[in-house]
């Protein structure tokens, strides 16, 4: 396919766009670039839909307005920058070219009502370069000064205006996020792009991702000029035109990010060999050399895009182009792993199984990370299970058969070993219960362990098993795909097992090393311990004397064991707790999510809940352990409500404690701001702390509330000394 043939098709007025694109695609795959001689014409077709050569349109009047309305600061900045544009090239050394670049940038900013940002000029360069043959040496000296806002002589005649429409159309099509009117928005979107890019990197090249992450090298250090200038800053102009050829023919706005991904992956060896301290410099010098390399990198990027779950790809797209608001920030990104919705997952599944040429897409494997018990109570037919219980854990001097509640480093390593044959030849999707607390134990550590062991293509099914249940419910079991078939589904018992496991996890969370929120966990630990002490002290002594500090160190054997387990195996203590719970069958063990359980079950549970004023045996350890710091996720919103309730008793400070196995998630615990809130307690030394017990179940009209809402006065009062002690302990 040569230039002439393309010209012929372009000349033919009947040619369908698809036909032309087919030809251009063929041309790209054989020549790895578009024919240079007719490139302006092809770009004109691809960007503006015109079949002829780019027309010369000189917007003198508008330029005049633009030059008069832009501030001197902006104009000076633009002029400063065009003088620094590709200074080593003859073309850009010509003053007429610089003046033209200046005029076009001024006009562009004026027309688009955007403030000029550095990098825009870099993107203009390839378009000027496209028409370099039209630049003839002017004998006259180009007189120009930014001070007078008159249209420079050269701008009235210059043929370089031909590139202006193309430049505008290119930016609008391929970098609209750079044309945001608010600078704040522009940089927010840019930061978003960095976040998504990182997730793509961990998905495709986990080794690279972790090498960079461990060296604290973030995309804002190496991607910024790639994204702000669409590589115009980083690639020689000849090669840049080839890259833009590919971009224009594909018409895919997102492909520039995959090009970047492939580019960095191609330099993996150099990056991995490079000294940690040298990484920034190494990354800065990454580039492509030669047209063939551009083409190969481009192709590699396309392949990566194909393997990327399309749902994630679309989320990335939407984050840049559609859902720009702050509130639409994608919170799943901080898990360092691609999270898929049910629909996304189904799409991937179908893509693998329906495509004729499925060789390019790796098979998709679903792994159930939950415990055996939960799995047995219902799982997807196609999901394989990680056999946690079969992994060996070393427990000193303990021959008991132990069941693992929380994966330790050791079990994770064994799981990774089990995955070894699948390394990089399948796409692993991990599925948990969908409950955040359990997923923190089951799914995220596994995902982390896999990417840390450099497994590529690892994803998580967001919402887990529950989201699939919901998905099916929404569709009323109508003609559902067979790969959503359940085995042994008993969602009720599944819930029960989950809740029980959650409760044991929560009660031993103090010693868990899995969580990042260590300070808060520690705080909770001392808090719980403290509460148990008060309660015991309060029951034995009528004066409610706070136990002396040395007594705090005194521990019940059970507590002791929890403390010790901090150092030893966590699984042991969890196991113990689990058994104990199974025996005690405490009322708090069977809370169900009110939106999913039926009314009868709910009522039965309500009846078992101690009523206000009834005697509760506070010495029972499991009860105490189940007290949790309770902060609803939307505390800031409900704050007003609380304040209102406190009117009249404003001298009290409330510390809200609640047994909350239902909605407490780690996310909500994180939003608890201990320091700030302790500070408030501290300032109210004379006041009394009230410990407030409340179940965190949202009651609706048809579901009764276990307590009278107006009567939540089950209270332990503390005197000043106790408050001080309490604060002291919290601070630790």
């Amino acid at each position: 396919m040569n230039g002439k043939a393309i010209v012929k098709i372009l000349d033919h007025s009947e040619s369908a766009n698809e036909e032309i694109l087919d030809h251009l695609n063929n041309c790209l795959s054989s020549e790895h670039q578009l024919p240079e001689s007719i490139r302006p014409r092809i770009w004109n077709f691809l960007l503006l839909g015109k079949s002829g050569v780019p027309e010369l349109h000189i917007p003198v009047r508008e330029l005049n307005t633009a030059l008069n309305s832009l501030s001197n600061t902006v104009k000076e900045q633009i002029w400063l920058d065009v003088n620094r544009l590709r200074p080593s090239l003859w073309l850009f050394q010509q003053k007429q070219v610089r003046v033209m670049a200046y005029c076009m940038l001024c006009l562009f900013c004026y027309q688009r009502e955007i403030s000029y940002f550095q990098g825009l000029h870099e993107m203009l360069a390839p378009f000027i370069f496209l028409f370099q043959h039209e630049v003839v040496t002017w004998s006259d000296d180009v007189s120009f000064s930014i001070g007078d806002s008159k249209v420079p002589q050269v701008a009235i005649f210059s043929p370089l205006w031909k590139c202006y429409q193309l430049f505008c159309a290119f930016l609008e099509r391929f970098a609209p996020f750079l044309l945001e009117k608010s600078e704040e928005m522009l940089f927010r979107l840019l930061k978003r792009a960095f976040c998504y890019f990182q997730i793509l990197l961990v998905y495709h090249s986990p080794r690279l991702f972790w090498t960079l992450a461990d060296a604290e090298v973030t995309p804002d250090m190496y991607c910024i000029s790639w994204f702000v200038t669409l590589f115009a800053r980083n690639v020689n102009l000849e090669e840049l035109l080839v890259l833009y050829d590919c971009l224009l023919v594909s018409g895919n706005v997102m492909s520039i990010f995959y090009f970047a991904l492939e580019l960095i992956s191609r330099h993996q060896t150099i990056i991995l060999q490079s000294n940690k301290a040298m990484l920034p410099e190494t990354l800065m010098n990454i580039s492509v050399n030669g047209n063939d390399q551009v083409w190969e990198t481009w192709l590699g990027g396309q392949r990566k895009q194909c393997i990327t779950p399309q749902g994630f790809h679309r989320r990335f797209y939407r984050a840049l182009y559609e859902t720009k608001e702050y509130s639409k920030e994608d919170t799943s990104l901080d898990k360092n792993c691609i999270q898929l919705q049910v629909d996304d997952w189904l799409e991937e599944w179908n893509r693998t199984h329906q495509l004729k040429d499925s060789s390019s897409i790796l098979p998709f494997f679903l792994w159930d990370c939950r415990s055996k018990e939960e799995y047995d109570a219902g799982h997807l037919a196609i999901a394989a299970r990680i056999p946690w219980e079969s992994f060996h854990i070393a427990t000193e001097g303990d021959n008991k058969k132990t069941r693992v509640m929380v994966p330790t480093q050791e079990t994770l390593n064994q799981a990774v070993e089990m995955f070894e044959p699948l390394r990089n030849i399948v796409r692993i999707c991990l599925i948990g219960s969908g409950d955040d607390i359990l997923d923190q134990i089951d799914v995220y550590p596994m995902a982390l362990a896999l990417t840390r062991s450099y497994f590529a293509y690892v994803s998580i099914l967001s919402g887990g098993i529950h989201s699939i249940l919901e998905w099916k419910q929404q569709r009323n079991d109508k003609a559902l795909p067979h790969h959503l078939d359940w085995v042994d589904l008993d969602s009720m018992s599944q819930r029960l097992i989950e809740e029980r496991r959650k409760a044991s996890i929560q009660s031993t969370i103090d010693s868990s090393t899995l969580l990042n929120s260590q300070p808060i966990v520690d705080l909770r630990h001392s808090f719980n311990r403290l509460v148990s002490k008060w309660v015991r002290g309060g029951k034995t002594a009528s004066t409610m004397n706070f136990p002396p500090s040395n007594n705090v160190e005194e521990k019940s054997p059970q507590q002791q064991s929890i403390e010790e387990s901090k150092l030893g195996s966590l699984a042991d203590s969890l196991l113990m707790r689990e058994n104990e719970r199974l025996v005690s069958k405490h009322w708090l063990d069977s809370p169900l999510r009110c939106d999913t359980c039926d009314a009868t079950t709910w009522k039965v549970w309500c009846q078992r809940v101690p009523k206000i004023g009834s005697v509760v045996d506070l010495d029972r350890e499991e009860w105490i352990a189940s007290l949790q710091l309770f902060y609803v996720q939307t505390w800031s919103e409900s704050r007003n409500e609380w304040t209102n309730r406190m009117i009249g008793i404003s001298e009290y400070y409330f510390v809200v404690l609640a047994r909350d196995t239902l909605h407490t998630s780690y996310a909500s615990i994180k939003t608890f701001r201990p320091l700030e809130d302790i500070h408030q307690v501290e300032n109210k030394k004379d006041n009394v702390v009230v410990i407030y017990v409340k179940a965190c179940v949202e009651a609706s009209d048809d579901i009764p509330w276990p307590w009278d809402r107006q009567d939540e006065k089950w209270i332990i009062k503390l005197d000043e000394r106790q408050v001080n002690k309490f604060i002291e302990l919290l601070k630790k």
């Binding site: 550095q118 990098g119 940089f187 250090m221 910024i224 920034p280 800065m284 390593n413 090393t513």
Partner: protein, 208 residues
């Protein structure tokens, strides 16, 4: 390449004051009158000797344009030293120093050593900011001050080495807690043994 310490430096200041040229002059001993402008950040490195110890300076040359501030702020993190540059021939670049300094103080460690640099002092005939004004600003904010010319290489070497020496002295006097939060100084393979513990602590276990 082994070094005793690695210092992270950051060069900040308005666009076009010659940040990249200063860096190029320092690292490559050459001056390019027209240099491509920096988008985001670029890096340079140079080895200096101090008391027989090898110190690697990793220099982060940042974008000067106001728009990029929201991104460039993240580059301050963990810098041991900063070069705050203005152009003596453009008064406005001097006027903006306060906001730059405010940013630097806010987004970096309080222990960061800041050197005020009045660049382009070869262009005496176009001077708009007197040396005394620069000195006064530096004194008022507790910075050291130098006038430089990236073109003639005047004081360029000194600027960087002086900043490095200040940091080095702070380390010697134990004013910088290398084992704590201060990330601007990384201890290399050939540092004295006391500091070596830090590396072990820094490397967190790979998984979970």
């Amino acid at each position: 390449m082994s070094y005793a310490y690695l210092f992270k430096f950051i060069i900040i200041g308005d666009s076009g004051v010659g940040k990249s040229c200063l860096l190029l002059q320092f690292t490559d001993k050459r001056f390019q009158p027209i240099h491509d402008l920096t988008i985001g950040v670029e890096f340079g490195a140079k080895i200096v000797q101090m008391d027989g110890k090898t110190i690697k300076l990793q220099i982060w040359d940042t974008a000067g344009q106001e728009s990029f501030r929201s991104i460039t702020r993240s580059y301050y993190r963990g810098a041991a030293g900063a070069l705050l540059v203005y152009d003596i021939t453009r008064r406005e670049t001097f006027n903006h120093l306060a906001t730059w300094l405010e940013d630097a103080r806010q987004y970096s460690s309080p222990d960061m050593t800041v050197v005020l640099v009045g660049n382009k002092c070869d262009l005496e005939h176009r001077r708009q900011v007197s040396k005394e004004e620069g000195e006064a600003f530096a004194r008022a904010h507790g910075l050291s001050f130098l006038e430089t010319s990236a073109k003639t290489a005047f004081h360029v070497e000194e600027t960087f080495t002086e900043a490095a020496r200040t940091i080095y002295e702070k380390i010697k006097q134990g004013k910088l807690d290398l084992n704590g939060d201060f990330q601007g100084v990384k201890v290399g393979a050939t540092a004295n043994t006391i500091q070596l513990q830090q590396n072990n602590q820094d490397e967190r276990s790979g998984c979970c």
